[in-house]
Amino acid sequence: MKAQGKENKEKAIENNIEGKESKATSLYSPFSNLSTRKRSGRIWQLVFLSATSVGILALMALLFNILDSTFGYVAYEAKVAPTSLSVDGVVLEDQTKTQLVALLQNTLSRGAFNKLNNEKSFESRSRAEVSALVIERIVKYQVVDSWPLWESLTRSAEIKATVAAEYPLAELKFVSWLTAGTISHPQSSEVVTAGIRTAILGSLWTILITILFAFPLGVGAAIYLEEYAVGNWLSRLIQTNINNLAGVPSIIYGILGLAIFVRALEKLTSGAVFGLVDPTTANGRTVLSAGLTLGLLVLPIIIINAQEAIRAVPQSLRKAGYGLGATKWQVIWSHVLPNALPGILTGTILAVSRAIGETAPLVVIGASTAISFDPSSPFSKFTTLPIQIYQWTARPQDEWRHLAAAAIVVLLALLLSLNASAILLRNRFARKN
């Protein structure tokens, strides 16, 4: 039946060729116009090549755009001029730690000072830390204007003139928006002190839960489909279902997560069942809900990849196991899974890198927009790296977009290293076989 279909199809195509050829001869003789035909061939080859290059150009434009925003001139204005903080002619930079602590104590309110002391006592803070506190709490630099890298390099003189004319008090500096500070500071409402630590930790917590949830379920499902339920109607139904789930838009998973994890299972996801409710949250919009939602989202990807890995294990290994009298599960556990593991892990890493970049479902289940404390348990409120990028990009001021670009660099670096490890794993696996 199949073969016949193939024959028919080939015949149809052959007819097609004949038809086309005869038309071609009637329009122009193939021999006299050979050079024309060859020329149009060369032109179209160029067209095809340039179409392929559009993708590469777009990628380069995207990377340029991000790096362009990550570096550049920034004009800062201090709320309290550092020069006014000199004591006995000693400028701020040269003051001792004791002097700086005294300055903080005199300027800040008693409550604020005690709070800082309670977080970490001033005796145990280094001079650099105290100095950073003085800058953050008293001097309070504010960004008044900022320029991207390309403009900073090409129109440097112009920018300096503008700043001198418009912001006489401002200090112009060439900065990288991506610094150790950007990574280690929590989210804040001031662009100078805002960082992505909260977001990175939120992403890690979420991914941890996603893996714990989706990896066993996905691998189990793949084993069931490949080893137990081969070819019956149920496995066909599950298979079709998984293929369709893989194509459902991610935002639908967000809506599902909102209805099921955040709302219906609120007692579980807020930690009420375990008596572990985070004091800052009273609802189900937690790390746990986010992790489970992303877990559902990547489950089809993990299953499909794991199935391929299991299918690639040679049948002879299973037969050898059975021949030695092993049970089905023993064969799977000790023969099939070890051999399929690199493939399964590669697929899981790819699924994880998909989950790390997901934004829409987490926005829908209600990731918090402005939290400045780190998530500490599955029942914490959270924000993630892509959500932080979304929040900052959506703000109209340029300086937040620079910060978003810095966060994007971190996100892309994270994804790149994940994918590189997946490729290494795959290559090692390919060499072994």
């Binding site: 097609n16 060729i17 061939g41 137990y228 099921i260 994007i408």
Partner: protein, 316 residues
């Protein structure tokens, strides 16, 4: 099979007579049922999606402010005055999807033809991973790119009076770049599945490389290419973050790509961005929009799978 072999005593275990009939192992059964549970979990997910979307959408359509006819034909989406017409959201989705496909279909197809028919193995091994990188970049990054690079570019070309800061055009263009690798990779699979003999036959008749590629291979791979295009459309309809960042916040009934308008997905993201209270009309409305998205993309995906199966059946 395994049980029988135990019974035959190949392993040297003592053979019990009854074990020839059945040697049930509790552990094996428990494991098998656990695996069955994990296998059927994806079915629960689907049931969950259909049930939740259906239930909340049902509650939405039963509200006195809403009726299905007005929902499908109304040109105003203004929840605070009780106007729920999906058309402004649907047209924005239509515009972004159309622009995205105008980019992704020709470029993706040309890239597929180049990679499968022209490129040497070495070129192919360089170009393909680059396209795969494009497909792996998170969509929020594309959103950033659309807003901070493509929109200013459009504004400098067409004039900032014509192009609004938020516009469906830049979102659509960038979405096209996002979908390009998807269209290219599925089309390339389809082109590669066309048997070599067809190409050789055409060469034998004196066809040039271009004629073989365009007149022989492309028509033979048509069902696979159709699958790629349909899947691309489904992806464009469901794409969220690019439009949420770059296409504008506010329903707008317009087909002008230089104006801001909110798509169905963009609307869901904006509405649910704050702390959405349950049982509010907004909460129910996102499920109604979600149901439409789900039905639309599911239909497209199923049709696309049919096409893929067809070219697989013919050539593999």
């Amino acid at each position: 099979m395994a049980e029988k072999m135990n019974g035959m005593g190949v392993t040297g275990f003592p053979v019990r007579k009854d074990s020839l009939q059945k040697s049930r192992r509790v552990g094996e059964t428990v494991i098998q049922s656990l695996l069955f549970f994990t296998g059927s979990f994806s079915i629960f997910t689907t049931i969950g999606i259909v049930y939740e979307l259906g239930k909340e959408a049902w509650l939405f359509f039963r509200l006195p402010e809403v009726n299905l006819w007005k929902f499908l034909t109304g040109i105003k989406w203004q929840p605070h005055i009780g106007e729920f017409g999906i058309l402004p959201l649907a047209t924005a989705t239509l515009v972004t999807t159309a622009i995205a496909m105008l980019i992704a279909i020709p470029l993706g197809l040309a890239a597929a033809v180049y990679l499968s028919e022209y490129a040497s193995k070495k070129t192919r091994n360089t170009l393909k991973p680059i396209l795969e990188i494009l497909a792996g970049i998170p969509t929020i990054v594309y959103g950033y790119f659309a807003l901070t690079f493509v929109t200013p570019l459009l504004r400098s070309i067409f004039g900032s009076g014509v192009v609004e800061i938020y516009n469906t055009g830049s979102a659509g263009l960038v979405m096209g770049i996002l979908i390009l690798p998807l269209v290219a990779s599925i089309s390339e699979d389809a082109l590669n599945a066309v048997p070599r003999s067809l190409r050789e036959a055409a060469y034998g008749l004196g066809a040039t490389k271009l004629e073989v590629a365009v007149k022989i291979v492309l028509p033979a791979a048509l069902s696979g290419i159709a699958a790629a295009v349909i899947l691309g459309i489904s992806r464009a309809i469901g794409e969220t973050m690019i439009v949420a960042v770059a296409a504008g916040a506010g329903p707008n009934f317009t087909l002008n790509p230089f104006k801001g308008a909110e798509t169905m997905t963009g609307h869901i993201v904006r509405i649910s961005g704050g702390d959405l209270s349950y049982d509010s009309i907004d909460y129910n409305s996102i499920f109604a929009i979600g149901l439409m998205l789900f039905v639309l993309t599911l239909t497209l995906n199923i049709v696309s799978q049919r096409f893929v199966r067809r070219f697989r059946e013919v050539y593999e």
